[in-house]
Assembly symmetry: C2
DNA sequence: TCAAAAGTGTTAATCCTACACCCATGC
DNA sequence: GCATGGGTGTAGGATTAACACTTTTGA
Protein backbone atom coordinates (compact mmCIF):
# COMPACT_ATOMS: atom_id res chain seq x y z
CA UNK A 1 0.00 0.00 0.00
CA UNK A 2 1.44 3.29 -1.06
CA UNK A 3 2.22 5.63 1.80
CA UNK A 4 3.67 8.77 0.30
CA UNK A 5 3.07 10.72 -2.85
CA UNK A 6 5.60 10.70 -5.66
CA UNK A 7 5.93 12.99 -8.63
CA UNK A 8 4.46 10.31 -10.86
CA UNK A 9 1.26 10.42 -8.86
CA UNK A 10 0.44 13.91 -10.10
CA UNK A 11 -0.94 12.48 -13.28
CA UNK A 12 -4.57 13.42 -13.49
CA UNK A 13 -6.34 16.33 -15.12
CA UNK A 14 -9.35 17.90 -13.48
CA UNK A 15 -12.44 18.99 -15.28
CA UNK A 16 -15.77 20.26 -14.09
CA UNK A 17 -19.19 20.07 -15.66
CA UNK A 18 -22.34 21.80 -14.55
CA UNK A 19 -25.95 20.74 -14.80
CA UNK A 20 -27.99 23.92 -14.60
CA UNK A 21 -31.75 23.59 -14.35
CA UNK A 22 -33.72 26.58 -15.49
CA UNK A 23 -37.46 27.01 -15.20
CA UNK A 24 -39.30 29.16 -17.69
CA UNK A 25 -42.76 28.90 -16.20
CA UNK A 26 -43.69 25.97 -18.39
CA UNK A 27 -40.92 23.47 -18.23
CA UNK A 28 -37.60 22.64 -16.70
CA UNK A 29 -34.67 23.14 -18.98
CA UNK A 30 -31.04 22.15 -18.88
CA UNK A 31 -28.16 24.21 -20.17
CA UNK A 32 -26.21 22.36 -22.84
CA UNK A 33 -23.18 23.21 -24.91
CA UNK A 34 -21.68 22.07 -28.19
CA UNK A 35 -18.21 20.62 -28.38
CA UNK A 36 -16.21 22.78 -30.78
CA UNK A 37 -13.05 20.76 -31.09
CA UNK A 38 -12.05 17.11 -31.13
CA UNK A 39 -12.74 14.72 -29.65
CA UNK A 40 -16.51 14.63 -30.13
CA UNK A 41 -16.53 17.82 -32.20
CA UNK A 42 -20.09 18.92 -32.77
CA UNK A 43 -21.52 16.74 -30.05
CA UNK A 44 -23.74 18.07 -27.30
CA UNK A 45 -22.17 18.14 -23.88
CA UNK A 46 -22.73 19.72 -20.53
CA UNK A 47 -21.01 23.07 -20.04
CA UNK A 48 -17.54 22.05 -18.95
CA UNK A 49 -14.12 23.45 -18.23
CA UNK A 50 -10.66 22.22 -17.46
CA UNK A 51 -9.48 23.14 -13.99
CA UNK A 52 -6.09 24.81 -14.28
CA UNK A 53 -3.37 24.25 -11.73
CA UNK A 54 -3.88 26.55 -8.76
CA UNK A 55 -7.50 27.20 -9.54
CA UNK A 56 -10.29 26.00 -7.34
CA UNK A 57 -12.78 23.59 -8.89
CA UNK A 58 -15.86 25.36 -7.65
CA UNK A 59 -14.51 28.71 -8.73
CA UNK A 60 -13.75 27.31 -12.17
CA UNK A 61 -17.36 26.17 -12.52
CA UNK A 62 -18.72 29.50 -11.34
CA UNK A 63 -16.58 31.50 -13.70
CA UNK A 64 -17.49 29.23 -16.60
CA UNK A 65 -21.11 30.05 -15.91
CA UNK A 66 -20.33 33.72 -15.60
CA UNK A 67 -18.76 33.64 -19.04
CA UNK A 68 -21.62 31.73 -20.58
CA UNK A 69 -24.53 33.51 -18.99
CA UNK A 70 -23.24 36.80 -17.69
CA UNK A 71 -24.71 35.88 -14.35
CA UNK A 72 -22.43 35.90 -11.38
CA UNK A 73 -23.92 34.49 -8.22
CA UNK A 74 -24.46 30.81 -8.64
CA UNK A 75 -25.42 28.38 -6.01
CA UNK A 76 -23.72 25.20 -7.09
CA UNK A 77 -23.75 21.97 -5.20
CA UNK A 78 -21.31 19.22 -5.90
CA UNK A 79 -22.92 16.20 -7.51
CA UNK A 80 -20.14 13.67 -7.51
CA UNK A 81 -16.79 13.01 -9.02
CA UNK A 82 -16.85 11.07 -12.26
CA UNK A 83 -13.59 9.25 -12.41
CA UNK A 84 -13.89 6.11 -14.50
CA UNK A 85 -10.49 5.33 -15.95
CA UNK A 86 -11.28 5.65 -19.62
CA UNK A 87 -14.12 8.13 -19.56
CA UNK A 88 -12.07 10.63 -21.55
CA UNK A 89 -10.11 9.59 -24.65
CA UNK A 90 -7.52 12.32 -24.00
CA UNK A 91 -6.22 10.80 -20.82
CA UNK A 92 -7.06 10.56 -17.18
CA UNK A 93 -9.52 13.31 -16.56
CA UNK A 94 -11.53 13.38 -13.37
CA UNK A 95 -14.71 15.35 -13.66
CA UNK A 96 -16.09 17.00 -10.56
CA UNK A 97 -19.63 17.87 -11.51
CA UNK A 98 -22.01 20.39 -9.99
CA UNK A 99 -25.63 21.13 -10.25
CA UNK A 100 -27.49 24.36 -9.83
CA UNK A 101 -30.73 26.12 -10.55
CA UNK A 102 -31.69 29.40 -12.15
CA UNK A 103 -34.70 31.44 -13.08
CA UNK A 104 -34.88 31.65 -16.84
CA UNK A 105 -35.56 35.21 -17.93
CA UNK A 106 -35.23 36.87 -21.30
CA UNK A 107 -31.74 38.11 -20.57
CA UNK A 108 -30.49 34.64 -19.89
CA UNK A 109 -32.19 33.19 -22.94
CA UNK A 110 -30.80 35.82 -25.30
CA UNK A 111 -27.23 35.80 -24.10
CA UNK A 112 -26.99 32.08 -24.42
CA UNK A 113 -28.15 32.02 -27.97
CA UNK A 114 -25.36 34.35 -28.95
CA UNK A 115 -22.73 32.03 -27.65
CA UNK A 116 -23.94 28.70 -28.98
CA UNK A 117 -25.11 27.36 -25.66
CA UNK A 118 -28.73 26.46 -25.36
CA UNK A 119 -31.53 25.54 -23.03
CA UNK A 120 -33.13 22.20 -23.71
CA UNK A 121 -36.21 20.79 -21.96
CA UNK A 122 -34.82 18.41 -19.38
CA UNK A 123 -36.59 15.41 -20.84
CA UNK A 124 -35.52 16.16 -24.41
CA UNK A 125 -31.80 16.44 -23.93
CA UNK A 126 -30.05 14.68 -26.82
CA UNK A 127 -27.38 12.06 -26.17
CA UNK A 128 -24.28 13.74 -24.78
CA UNK A 129 -20.61 12.98 -25.31
CA UNK A 130 -18.27 11.49 -22.72
CA UNK A 131 -20.21 10.24 -19.71
CA UNK A 132 -22.30 13.37 -19.58
CA UNK A 133 -25.55 11.43 -19.92
CA UNK A 134 -24.70 9.74 -16.70
CA UNK A 135 -23.89 13.06 -15.03
CA UNK A 136 -27.20 14.48 -16.21
CA UNK A 137 -29.14 11.50 -14.87
CA UNK A 138 -27.38 11.86 -11.59
CA UNK A 139 -28.34 15.53 -11.44
CA UNK A 140 -31.98 14.82 -12.24
CA UNK A 141 -32.17 12.32 -9.43
CA UNK A 142 -30.52 14.74 -7.09
CA UNK A 143 -32.97 17.46 -8.02
CA UNK A 144 -35.88 15.15 -7.37
CA UNK A 145 -34.57 14.20 -4.00
CA UNK A 146 -33.94 17.77 -3.11
CA UNK A 147 -37.38 18.88 -4.14
CA UNK A 148 -38.91 16.34 -1.81
CA UNK A 149 -37.04 17.46 1.27
CA UNK A 150 -36.17 21.09 0.91
CA UNK A 151 -37.91 24.07 -0.53
CA UNK A 152 -37.00 24.84 -4.06
CA UNK A 153 -38.18 27.75 -6.05
CA UNK A 154 -36.27 30.72 -4.77
CA UNK A 155 -33.67 30.02 -7.38
CA UNK A 156 -36.06 28.82 -10.07
CA UNK A 157 -38.97 31.21 -9.93
CA UNK A 158 -39.15 34.97 -10.37
CA UNK A 159 -39.54 37.08 -7.23
CA UNK A 160 -43.29 37.10 -7.59
CA UNK A 161 -45.20 34.09 -8.75
CA UNK A 162 -48.53 32.35 -8.52
CA UNK A 163 -49.32 29.08 -6.83
CA UNK A 164 -49.88 27.66 -10.27
CA UNK A 165 -46.30 28.51 -11.21
CA UNK A 166 -45.01 26.77 -8.15
CA UNK A 167 -47.16 23.72 -8.77
CA UNK A 168 -45.99 23.50 -12.38
CA UNK A 169 -42.43 23.64 -11.17
CA UNK A 170 -42.96 20.77 -8.75
CA UNK A 171 -44.75 18.78 -11.39
CA UNK A 172 -41.88 19.25 -13.82
CA UNK A 173 -39.22 18.39 -11.30
CA UNK A 174 -40.96 15.28 -10.02
CA UNK A 175 -42.55 14.19 -13.24
CA UNK A 176 -46.06 13.80 -11.91
CA UNK A 177 -49.11 15.93 -11.34
CA UNK A 178 -50.80 17.03 -8.17
CA UNK A 179 -54.24 17.87 -7.00
CA UNK A 180 -54.55 21.62 -7.01
CA UNK A 181 -56.32 21.94 -3.69
CA UNK A 182 -54.07 19.57 -1.83
CA UNK A 183 -50.99 21.20 -3.25
CA UNK A 184 -52.11 24.64 -2.24
CA UNK A 185 -53.08 23.58 1.22
CA UNK A 186 -49.75 21.93 1.77
CA UNK A 187 -47.67 24.82 0.50
CA UNK A 188 -49.69 27.39 2.44
CA UNK A 189 -49.34 25.18 5.49
CA UNK A 190 -45.58 25.46 5.40
CA UNK A 191 -45.97 29.24 5.87
CA UNK A 192 -43.12 29.72 3.48
CA UNK A 193 -45.08 32.07 1.27
CA UNK A 194 -46.14 35.65 1.76
CA UNK A 195 -49.30 36.77 0.01
CA UNK A 196 -48.74 40.01 -1.90
CA UNK A 197 -51.18 42.85 -2.51
CA UNK A 198 -50.97 42.09 -6.19
CA UNK A 199 -52.53 39.92 -8.80
CA UNK A 200 -51.39 38.99 -12.25
CA UNK A 201 -52.76 41.14 -15.03
CA UNK A 202 -55.27 39.19 -17.06
CA UNK A 203 -53.61 38.42 -20.37
CA UNK A 204 -55.00 38.13 -23.83
CA UNK A 205 -55.80 34.46 -23.54
CA UNK A 206 -58.76 34.85 -21.23
CA UNK A 207 -57.54 34.63 -17.69
CA UNK A 208 -58.80 35.57 -14.32
CA UNK A 209 -56.15 37.49 -12.34
CA UNK A 210 -54.19 35.25 -10.00
CA UNK A 211 -52.87 35.98 -6.53
CA UNK A 212 -49.12 36.65 -6.42
CA UNK A 213 -46.83 35.40 -3.69
CA UNK A 214 -43.21 35.76 -2.71
CA UNK A 215 -41.08 33.60 -0.46
CA UNK A 216 -40.57 34.40 3.20
CA UNK A 217 -36.79 34.46 3.11
CA UNK A 218 -36.23 33.67 6.77
CA UNK A 219 -38.49 30.66 6.82
CA UNK A 220 -37.12 29.57 3.48
CA UNK A 221 -33.58 29.59 4.83
CA UNK A 222 -34.57 27.67 7.93
CA UNK A 223 -36.32 25.04 5.89
CA UNK A 224 -33.39 24.80 3.54
CA UNK A 225 -31.15 23.98 6.45
CA UNK A 226 -33.41 21.68 8.39
CA UNK A 227 -35.31 20.01 5.61
CA UNK A 228 -39.00 19.29 5.82
CA UNK A 229 -41.07 16.31 4.87
CA UNK A 230 -42.53 17.61 1.66
CA UNK A 231 -42.92 14.17 0.16
CA UNK A 232 -45.50 13.94 -2.56
CA UNK B 1 -12.25 29.59 -21.58
CA UNK B 2 -9.98 26.65 -22.05
CA UNK B 3 -11.13 24.24 -24.72
CA UNK B 4 -8.57 21.50 -24.97
CA UNK B 5 -6.36 19.70 -22.54
CA UNK B 6 -2.64 20.34 -22.46
CA UNK B 7 0.10 18.35 -20.81
CA UNK B 8 0.32 20.92 -18.04
CA UNK B 9 -3.27 20.14 -17.10
CA UNK B 10 -2.34 16.68 -15.90
CA UNK B 11 -1.18 18.09 -12.63
CA UNK B 12 -3.33 16.59 -9.89
CA UNK B 13 -2.84 13.55 -7.70
CA UNK B 14 -5.79 11.39 -6.75
CA UNK B 15 -6.35 9.94 -3.35
CA UNK B 16 -9.25 8.07 -1.85
CA UNK B 17 -10.42 7.79 1.74
CA UNK B 18 -13.06 5.51 3.13
CA UNK B 19 -15.47 5.98 5.98
CA UNK B 20 -16.48 2.51 7.12
CA UNK B 21 -19.22 2.20 9.69
CA UNK B 22 -19.25 -0.98 11.70
CA UNK B 23 -21.91 -2.02 14.19
CA UNK B 24 -20.98 -4.25 17.10
CA UNK B 25 -24.43 -4.66 18.61
CA UNK B 26 -23.93 -1.76 20.98
CA UNK B 27 -22.59 1.14 19.03
CA UNK B 28 -21.61 2.36 15.61
CA UNK B 29 -17.89 2.49 15.02
CA UNK B 30 -15.71 4.05 12.40
CA UNK B 31 -12.51 2.60 11.05
CA UNK B 32 -9.55 4.93 11.59
CA UNK B 33 -5.88 4.71 10.74
CA UNK B 34 -2.69 6.29 11.98
CA UNK B 35 -0.45 8.29 9.69
CA UNK B 36 2.97 6.67 9.75
CA UNK B 37 4.99 9.17 7.80
CA UNK B 38 5.11 12.94 7.37
CA UNK B 39 3.20 15.08 7.00
CA UNK B 40 0.98 14.60 10.08
CA UNK B 41 2.99 11.59 11.28
CA UNK B 42 1.20 9.98 14.19
CA UNK B 43 -2.09 11.70 13.51
CA UNK B 44 -5.36 9.84 13.16
CA UNK B 45 -6.77 9.81 9.66
CA UNK B 46 -9.34 7.91 7.65
CA UNK B 47 -7.99 4.86 5.84
CA UNK B 48 -6.62 6.36 2.65
CA UNK B 49 -4.63 5.49 -0.42
CA UNK B 50 -3.07 7.20 -3.37
CA UNK B 51 -4.65 6.25 -6.68
CA UNK B 52 -1.90 5.18 -9.04
CA UNK B 53 -2.00 5.99 -12.73
CA UNK B 54 -4.14 3.42 -14.55
CA UNK B 55 -5.90 2.26 -11.43
CA UNK B 56 -9.54 2.82 -10.82
CA UNK B 57 -10.48 4.92 -7.80
CA UNK B 58 -13.15 2.56 -6.55
CA UNK B 59 -10.91 -0.42 -7.01
CA UNK B 60 -8.14 1.32 -5.10
CA UNK B 61 -10.48 1.88 -2.18
CA UNK B 62 -11.70 -1.71 -2.22
CA UNK B 63 -8.23 -3.16 -2.29
CA UNK B 64 -7.11 -0.86 0.51
CA UNK B 65 -9.90 -2.32 2.60
CA UNK B 66 -9.01 -5.83 1.57
CA UNK B 67 -5.49 -5.24 2.81
CA UNK B 68 -6.61 -3.71 6.06
CA UNK B 69 -9.42 -6.07 6.94
CA UNK B 70 -8.95 -9.19 4.89
CA UNK B 71 -12.50 -8.74 3.72
CA UNK B 72 -13.13 -8.61 0.05
CA UNK B 73 -16.64 -7.70 -0.97
CA UNK B 74 -17.30 -4.13 -0.04
CA UNK B 75 -20.25 -2.09 -0.97
CA UNK B 76 -18.85 1.39 -1.24
CA UNK B 77 -20.78 4.43 -2.28
CA UNK B 78 -19.08 7.60 -3.37
CA UNK B 79 -19.48 10.43 -0.89
CA UNK B 80 -18.02 13.34 -2.74
CA UNK B 81 -14.77 14.68 -4.06
CA UNK B 82 -12.81 16.81 -1.67
CA UNK B 83 -10.80 19.15 -3.78
CA UNK B 84 -9.99 22.33 -1.93
CA UNK B 85 -6.80 23.73 -3.33
CA UNK B 86 -4.59 23.55 -0.28
CA UNK B 87 -6.13 20.65 1.59
CA UNK B 88 -2.91 18.65 1.28
CA UNK B 89 0.49 20.21 2.03
CA UNK B 90 2.18 17.91 -0.48
CA UNK B 91 0.48 19.40 -3.49
CA UNK B 92 -2.74 19.26 -5.37
CA UNK B 93 -4.39 16.10 -4.20
CA UNK B 94 -8.05 15.47 -4.93
CA UNK B 95 -9.65 13.04 -2.55
CA UNK B 96 -12.55 10.97 -3.80
CA UNK B 97 -14.09 9.60 -0.64
CA UNK B 98 -16.38 6.61 -0.13
CA UNK B 99 -18.48 5.31 2.63
CA UNK B 100 -19.50 1.79 3.45
CA UNK B 101 -20.89 -0.39 6.19
CA UNK B 102 -19.84 -3.65 7.74
CA UNK B 103 -20.88 -6.08 10.42
CA UNK B 104 -18.24 -6.07 13.14
CA UNK B 105 -17.34 -9.59 14.12
CA UNK B 106 -14.39 -10.94 16.08
CA UNK B 107 -12.39 -11.66 12.97
CA UNK B 108 -12.61 -8.08 11.83
CA UNK B 109 -11.76 -6.69 15.24
CA UNK B 110 -8.70 -8.90 15.67
CA UNK B 111 -7.20 -8.40 12.25
CA UNK B 112 -7.40 -4.68 12.55
CA UNK B 113 -5.61 -4.53 15.83
CA UNK B 114 -2.69 -6.34 14.28
CA UNK B 115 -2.23 -3.72 11.65
CA UNK B 116 -2.58 -0.57 13.71
CA UNK B 117 -6.00 0.35 12.36
CA UNK B 118 -8.77 0.64 14.86
CA UNK B 119 -12.49 0.92 15.35
CA UNK B 120 -13.59 4.00 17.22
CA UNK B 121 -17.15 4.77 18.35
CA UNK B 122 -18.48 7.15 15.74
CA UNK B 123 -19.10 9.94 18.21
CA UNK B 124 -15.68 9.63 19.85
CA UNK B 125 -13.48 9.90 16.80
CA UNK B 126 -10.47 12.12 17.62
CA UNK B 127 -9.58 15.08 15.42
CA UNK B 128 -8.25 13.84 12.11
CA UNK B 129 -5.52 15.21 9.88
CA UNK B 130 -6.08 16.89 6.51
CA UNK B 131 -9.76 17.61 5.94
CA UNK B 132 -10.77 14.16 7.14
CA UNK B 133 -13.01 15.58 9.88
CA UNK B 134 -15.04 17.15 7.16
CA UNK B 135 -15.18 13.90 5.20
CA UNK B 136 -16.31 12.05 8.31
CA UNK B 137 -19.07 14.56 9.02
CA UNK B 138 -20.21 14.26 5.46
CA UNK B 139 -20.36 10.49 5.81
CA UNK B 140 -22.35 10.64 9.02
CA UNK B 141 -24.91 12.88 7.42
CA UNK B 142 -25.11 10.59 4.43
CA UNK B 143 -25.64 7.58 6.65
CA UNK B 144 -28.45 9.35 8.48
CA UNK B 145 -30.15 10.26 5.28
CA UNK B 146 -29.80 6.76 3.97
CA UNK B 147 -31.18 5.19 7.10
CA UNK B 148 -34.30 7.29 6.77
CA UNK B 149 -35.11 6.24 3.24
CA UNK B 150 -33.70 2.82 2.61
CA UNK B 151 -33.35 -0.29 4.66
CA UNK B 152 -30.04 -0.61 6.37
CA UNK B 153 -28.92 -3.52 8.42
CA UNK B 154 -28.07 -6.23 5.94
CA UNK B 155 -24.55 -4.95 5.89
CA UNK B 156 -24.39 -3.93 9.54
CA UNK B 157 -26.08 -6.76 11.41
CA UNK B 158 -25.30 -10.46 11.62
CA UNK B 159 -27.50 -12.84 9.61
CA UNK B 160 -29.77 -13.40 12.57
CA UNK B 161 -30.67 -10.64 14.93
CA UNK B 162 -33.34 -9.45 17.32
CA UNK B 163 -35.63 -6.48 16.95
CA UNK B 164 -33.74 -4.93 19.81
CA UNK B 165 -30.50 -5.13 17.79
CA UNK B 166 -32.16 -3.45 14.86
CA UNK B 167 -33.61 -0.74 17.04
CA UNK B 168 -30.25 -0.08 18.68
CA UNK B 169 -28.70 0.25 15.26
CA UNK B 170 -31.28 2.80 14.16
CA UNK B 171 -30.88 4.68 17.39
CA UNK B 172 -27.11 4.84 16.95
CA UNK B 173 -27.29 5.92 13.37
CA UNK B 174 -29.88 8.61 13.92
CA UNK B 175 -28.78 9.69 17.36
CA UNK B 176 -32.17 9.45 19.01
CA UNK B 177 -34.29 6.85 20.71
CA UNK B 178 -37.56 5.28 19.69
CA UNK B 179 -40.59 3.82 21.34
CA UNK B 180 -40.17 0.07 21.33
CA UNK B 181 -43.74 -0.75 20.35
CA UNK B 182 -43.96 1.79 17.59
CA UNK B 183 -40.59 0.76 16.22
CA UNK B 184 -41.55 -2.89 16.12
CA UNK B 185 -44.88 -2.25 14.52
CA UNK B 186 -43.31 -0.14 11.83
CA UNK B 187 -40.54 -2.59 11.01
CA UNK B 188 -42.89 -5.57 10.99
CA UNK B 189 -45.22 -3.57 8.79
CA UNK B 190 -42.57 -3.27 6.10
CA UNK B 191 -42.57 -7.07 5.83
CA UNK B 192 -38.85 -6.93 5.35
CA UNK B 193 -38.18 -9.38 8.15
CA UNK B 194 -38.67 -13.11 8.36
CA UNK B 195 -39.34 -14.57 11.79
CA UNK B 196 -37.09 -17.53 12.50
CA UNK B 197 -37.81 -20.64 14.51
CA UNK B 198 -35.13 -19.60 16.92
CA UNK B 199 -34.62 -17.49 19.94
CA UNK B 200 -31.48 -16.13 21.52
CA UNK B 201 -30.03 -18.25 24.28
CA UNK B 202 -30.49 -16.50 27.61
CA UNK B 203 -27.09 -15.26 28.69
CA UNK B 204 -25.58 -14.93 32.10
CA UNK B 205 -26.87 -11.46 32.69
CA UNK B 206 -30.46 -12.51 33.24
CA UNK B 207 -32.25 -12.33 29.97
CA UNK B 208 -35.43 -13.69 28.55
CA UNK B 209 -34.83 -15.32 25.15
CA UNK B 210 -35.61 -13.02 22.25
CA UNK B 211 -37.11 -13.83 18.89
CA UNK B 212 -34.58 -13.93 16.06
CA UNK B 213 -35.22 -12.56 12.59
CA UNK B 214 -33.46 -12.43 9.27
CA UNK B 215 -34.00 -10.14 6.32
CA UNK B 216 -36.18 -11.11 3.40
CA UNK B 217 -33.58 -10.60 0.71
CA UNK B 218 -35.98 -10.02 -2.14
CA UNK B 219 -38.01 -7.40 -0.34
CA UNK B 220 -34.83 -5.86 1.00
CA UNK B 221 -33.47 -5.42 -2.49
CA UNK B 222 -36.67 -3.92 -3.76
CA UNK B 223 -36.78 -1.46 -0.92
CA UNK B 224 -33.16 -0.58 -1.43
CA UNK B 225 -33.90 0.33 -5.00
CA UNK B 226 -37.17 2.11 -4.55
CA UNK B 227 -36.72 3.65 -1.14
CA UNK B 228 -39.46 3.80 1.42
CA UNK B 229 -40.64 6.46 3.77
CA UNK B 230 -39.04 5.24 6.92
CA UNK B 231 -38.80 8.66 8.46
CA UNK B 232 -38.60 8.70 12.22
C1' DT C 1 -38.23 -14.23 44.56
C1' DC C 2 -36.00 -10.78 42.16
C1' DA C 3 -33.70 -8.40 38.51
C1' DA C 4 -33.47 -7.72 33.65
C1' DA C 5 -34.93 -7.43 29.31
C1' DA C 6 -38.85 -9.23 26.02
C1' DG C 7 -43.09 -8.63 24.42
C1' DT C 8 -47.71 -6.71 23.64
C1' DG C 9 -52.78 -2.84 22.24
C1' DT C 10 -55.38 1.12 22.41
C1' DT C 11 -56.59 5.76 21.73
C1' DA C 12 -56.47 10.48 20.10
C1' DA C 13 -54.55 13.53 16.97
C1' DT C 14 -52.75 14.38 12.66
C1' DC C 15 -52.14 13.95 7.92
C1' DC C 16 -53.35 12.44 3.33
C1' DT C 17 -56.35 11.70 -0.49
C1' DA C 18 -60.04 12.03 -3.38
C1' DC C 19 -63.34 14.72 -5.17
C1' DA C 20 -66.75 19.11 -7.96
C1' DC C 21 -68.36 23.45 -8.31
C1' DC C 22 -68.42 28.66 -8.56
C1' DC C 23 -65.80 33.01 -9.88
C1' DA C 24 -63.63 36.80 -12.41
C1' DT C 25 -62.12 38.21 -16.50
C1' DG C 26 -61.26 39.22 -21.84
C1' DC C 27 -63.02 38.34 -25.94
C1' DG D 1 -72.55 34.96 -22.83
C1' DC D 2 -68.87 31.89 -23.13
C1' DA D 3 -64.40 30.06 -22.64
C1' DT D 4 -60.44 30.01 -19.70
C1' DG D 5 -58.04 29.24 -15.87
C1' DG D 6 -58.43 30.77 -10.57
C1' DG D 7 -60.03 29.65 -6.44
C1' DT D 8 -62.29 27.04 -2.55
C1' DG D 9 -63.99 22.71 1.64
C1' DT D 10 -65.08 18.31 3.40
C1' DA D 11 -65.17 13.61 4.79
C1' DG D 12 -63.08 8.93 5.29
C1' DG D 13 -59.04 6.42 5.78
C1' DA D 14 -54.36 5.88 7.06
C1' DT D 15 -50.57 6.96 9.82
C1' DT D 16 -48.33 8.53 13.84
C1' DA D 17 -47.31 9.28 18.73
C1' DA D 18 -47.94 8.58 23.35
C1' DC D 19 -48.56 5.60 26.85
C1' DA D 20 -47.74 0.81 31.11
C1' DC D 21 -48.07 -3.60 32.26
C1' DT D 22 -47.13 -8.75 31.96
C1' DT D 23 -43.87 -12.55 30.79
C1' DT D 24 -39.81 -15.38 30.82
C1' DT D 25 -35.69 -16.54 32.34
C1' DG D 26 -31.03 -17.13 35.31
C1' DA D 27 -29.18 -16.19 39.38
Amino acid sequence: MKVSIEQADYHAALATSVVIFGFDGESLNVLTATKENPPFEGASILPSAIVSPHRDVHETATSLLKKVTGVDHWYLEQLNAFAKLYRNPDGRVVNIAFYGTVKLDDKLLTQLKRKGYSWVPSNEVPPLAYDHDEILEFAKERLKRRVKRRPIGFSLLPKEFTLKDLQTLYECALGKSFDKRNFRRKIIGTEILIELDKKTKPTSDHKKPAQLYKFDEDKYQKMTLKGYPFVF
